[in-house]
Symmetry: C2
Subunit: 643 residues, 2 copies
């Protein structure tokens, strides 16, 4: 008899394995369907449905099937058991049921009003996977890929505008959504749809911050495919990348904002603490991310010079690169900072330094690996979003709240883009035209980050209402706005089919011609970047990569023994070669002009018959995009050595 029981338990175990396989299989199946559909669509040049939209659609259908076709098997799961002996919930619970001990693992705390939702259906519960999976596994590759694939030349050309939209714009958006939602919440309380005191202003701000993370992946894919104007692409891409980081840290800061007394009254101390939190977490995450990248650069640099055989093992190199980048994320999370921000800046720094040290094989491998992971993770998330509309068991759909959120999201986007564009246009040489502004306004899609932030806490009723609303807004924006991108481009008469390099050269040339007279007056405006760039070029680049002048020429003479040890032998060669391209420019504005110099310097290089022309291209792409400064500073630095 006991024997028999053992075999039954073995079969239970097997069933447990099968269950896990079925869930994964469902996701696989949905992703395969998505890929096939998108393949078909791309082939017929249908652009109204992006792969993420498709994934979401299939997820929705599958969620519907799971919800209404599978029957509730687990009758007892809705029942709450009493346990008087326990004071707090331990992480593992051992329970004796009919003389057999079972181990249970802590999952979460549940509000009393949610208990009913748990009636039934083990399948539904299995399909709702834990938020940590999003945050620790699915999001990092997406964000890292965004940082790693950032086109630095174009990005830094528009850096000022991008930072303005990302920081100031997100803050505006957060506050506007918070205010509008607070109005709607008050109205809901007034018509008795909501209890007084359930929804505080901080909750509205929390909702505002999570809804401020834009994710125009659909729009950007279409832009990329149609070769839309590079400036517009860069503005949107840069904004969405940085804006995610800002929104995440903002959400975190607001969630730990705890005024001492009345939660509706303004508490200056708590407010400033939140601002301090925001700055501290942002800076800490930035530091964490970039330091991991610097470590990677140092290791890969040492490999190439001292242990020359190491680039023979691209798998090890790629593995190290992958693990260190992921560690940046995990360390930040473990330290209580924001991993997503860390991994973003880790990606940017890896692209800036480490990428140059990798063997050509590893360069290709890392790029393709992260591209692939990004693709999979993105589609899994969107697929899961679709699923969750039917499988999540505590949805609260409040029509007034949803309507309010839709209004708030659009008003907030408008009060972000139009006023800021106006302000930026005052300073910009290359104005942001009206149709670009409309397009940016239109591209305020919400996606993975908003969803991930909303699902992170669904314990209380306000949070559940926010989650349900956020989900619907993601659906709406991805399908309606994403699908309308191509018609919108036509309607706004935005240029398509632009060759990014040609475009840049043309713009730069026209700019430099008209601006040469203003050079001296505005020379100081970019001094911060000059200082940083000088430091980067003179010390960091030679220390961390093989490019730039040798440290022996940039460091003071007494440091020579150390400098010689640290400089890559190939740096000397580069340095001498660069001396030929002596070229001094006095450009006035960093975000405008540096590219023109890079452009003009190309013929000089070509005339020296350099074989490393393609290598140079990479190098310019890889040095903060400050090609012009590089040449200028190199010349100055090279001078003493020559004499």
């Amino acid at each position: 008899m006991e024997k028999l029981k053992k075999y039954v338990s073995v079969k239970d175990e097997d069933h447990f394995y099968q269950q896990g396989a079925v869930e994964l299989l469902i996701f696989n199946f949905l992703l395969i369907l998505t890929i096939l559909t998108i393949w078909l669509f791309k082939n017929h040049r249908f652009r109204f449905l992006h792969e993420t939209g498709g994934a979401m659609l299939y997820g929705l259908v599958m969620g519907l099937i799971i919800r209404y076709v599978t029957k509730s098997s687990d009758v007892e799961s809705g029942t709450v058991y009493e346990c008087e002996k326990l004071k707090t919930g331990p992480s593992t619970l051992l329970i004796n049921i009919t003389n057999q001990v079972y181990e249970y693992q802590y999952k979460r705390e549940i509000s009393h009003h949610n208990v009913n939702g748990h009636q039934g259906n083990a399948m539904l519960q299995k399909m709702t996977f834990d938020p940590p999976i999003f945050f620790n596994i699915l999001l990092p590759p997406i964000i890292f890929h965004a940082g790693y694939s950032l086109k630095k030349r174009h990005f830094f050309r528009n850096l000022g505008s991008i930072l303005t939209y990302a920081f100031l714009g997100t803050a505006i958006s957060c506050i506007v959504i918070g205010l509008i939602m607070y109005g709607f919440v008050k109205a809901m309380v007034h018509i008795d749809q909501l209890n007084q005191g359930e929804f505080h202003f901080t909750d509205c701000l929390f909702f505002g911050s999570l809804m401020s993370a834009t994710d125009p992946v659909t729009v950007l894919a279409i832009f990329h495919e149609l070769n839309v104007d590079t400036d517009l692409y860069t503005l949107l891409f840069g904004e969405s990348v940085l804006n995610d980081a800002v929104a995440i840290v903002l959400t975190h800061s607001i969630s730990i904002y705890s005024p001492k007394e009345n939660p509706n009254a303004f508490d200056a101390a708590a407010f400033f603490q939140s601002v301090g939190n925001f700055l501290g977490i942002f800076a800490g995450s930035f530091a964490m991310g970039s330091s991991y990248a610097v470590v990677t650069a140092l290791i890969s640099f040492m490999h190439l010079t001292k242990f020359t055989k190491l680039c023979d093992f691209p798998v090890l190199e790629t593995g190290l690169f992958f693990l260190l980048s992921w560690s940046a994320f995990l360390s930040a999370e473990a330290a209580g900072l924001t991993g997503i921000v860390a991994v973003l800046f880790c990606g940017v720094t890896q692209a800036h330094y480490t990428y140059n040290n990798l063997s050509p094989d590893s360069k290709r491998r890392t790029k393709q690996l992260f591209e692939f992971m990004n693709f999979l993770a993105e589609n899994v998330i969107f697929c899961y979003m679709g699923l969750t509309l039917f499988t999540f068991q505590n949805h609260i759909f409040n029509p007034l709240f949803i309507f309010g959120a839709l209004v708030a999201v659009f008003v907030a986007r408008a009060s972000n883009i139009y006023p800021l564009s106006f302000l930026l246009n005052l300073g910009r040489k290359q104005k942001i035209p009206r149709n670009f502004q409309h397009m940016m306004m239109f591209s305020g899609l919400r996606g993975a980050i908003a969803f991930a932030l909303a699902i992170r806490d669904t314990g209380s009723q306000p949070k559940q209402m926010m989650f349900s609303t956020a989900l619907l807004i993601v659906f709406f924006t991805v399908w309606v706005l994403g699908g309308g991108t191509t018609p919108m481009l036509t309607w706004l008469q935005i240029r398509v089919g632009v060759d990014p390099d040609e475009d840049l050269k043309a713009k730069a040339a026209s700019q430099s011609a008209s601006n040469l007279d203003k050079n001296t007056t505005k020379a100081e405006s970019a001094w911060l970047f000059r200082v940083w760039y000088g430091f980067d070029h003179k010390y960091l680049k030679p220390l961390l990569t093989h490019t730039g002048p040798p440290l022996t020429s940039t460091l003071p003479e007494w440091c020579n023994p150390v400098a010689r040890l640290l400089t890559s032998p190939s740096a000397y060669g580069d340095h001498l070669k660069d001396d030929d391209t002596v070229y001094i420019i006095n450009n006035d504005e960093l975000t405008e002009n540096y590219e023109s110099s890079a452009h003009i310097s190309v013929p000089a290089q070509e005339s020296t018959g350099s074989i490393q022309a393609t290598g140079k291209e990479d190098l310019q792409e890889g040095d903060l995009g400050l090609g012009g400064y590089k040449l200028q500073l190199q010349h100055t630095a090279g001078q003493p050595q020559k004499n």
Copy 2:
């Protein structure tokens, strides 16, 4: 007050995230250390420690630290609570503790005697992740990679021997270990180290089957690096790949062998049911794996011909390939078959058909992706093995059992290799020399599969004893035998630095010279392969890939409209080209001679000045390794069309 409590719970949630990040970070850290160490070792040509051995070592050290440095935080977790209301353990348990409902998720059933082991230390419990993670996530990429990277030419040259070692050898090994262990168990009962009736003969056989899965990854890595004799490499690699599949299915069959009455008596019906199970599961898994690969081949084939734009999106192509291959694994698991076996044959079939249809970019991408995943998964598993020696809380180390297992493993390996080699040498032209046999005997390492099979069930005391013993044997074989590979190669005077292609040609040439007279007598011995190959070449290859003759020439005339639709336009071209290389051979034994024809046919190709020389190489690599047959049959098939 309630507000405050809410914030506390938010912080708990955050703590939960941080905890997850710390665990992953520990693994990352260990893997980074491993990579750096191995990089150093490879550079200094130390070969006594392979990366997997290093990962295991670091895991061990980290396990030691976690065990003895972190303190037990969770005091209550050792207590068992009573619950009279429940009859069975539900998958989710809601418990009311001091007016707050907590959700708990079912983890496993625990024997009463294990309860004490759960005293303390949440960290330890976090670090012991679930067996499903091994089976659903870590193992599939390793096994798929083995199948995908199989060198088919060399594999099929030694197919007979490999199948003998894998099937017959594993069965012998399982029975020998089972018998020896049964003897030791009897002895242990005799000296009162074990209770009568706790350890049945089926348990011993179960242990025998799981310990029969060899994993000479360390040895193979060294072989690869030193270019050891190709036949030896192929025999070992082929044996270890197939032997995993056999051992897994065998273990499963034994675990569900349930004699009706006395578990020690032999029950013929139950035995034959187990044999039937073995065959059914093996065949089913094989069918599942290969059918997914055929579906992939069909899809990728359609893409290339009908929707020609599809190979422009290598990410989609790679994604589809990856997802369908993983689905093969998951479907087999969901259907109650063995996913590992399915994914192995899926890998082999993908390499045979689909690989030919992929765009060059996707070919490289899929290869590199699986290489990378294999690398990571392998090191995570070995790292985890090291960790688990100290973090697993229910180890039972019985010195006599461990000693018995060590003896059994070596005796079983000897009674597998030597008698089978003797038998095989009777039939083989190219004998397996004594020193190869010794080397194969020596390479009986145990690794990931044995561990994964052992950890799958650690509920009862016998199973825990098996798990602890298996773990120690893995440690011993990986470090001692793995570390001794290079000295052993020298001592046995085995050739190193062999160019595989040259070697094959030389052997084939010497063979074909001496064997031409026996051709006619043994022509039938390989008829099964001829039939299969003919079918594959005439119908499957043209249907699933772009190689082979057009279907219009191989199918009956009335099928022409369909055939024309299904044939790739490029097949006609290939076909015509191949006609030039008319070459008929009457080879006597498939595993011996087919390669000679491929060898001789190469100059013929070269003399026609084919530009597609490298394409041809791929093609030969990709067609079951039956290069000779291919040419022969193509000629016959081409004849009717010519007339």
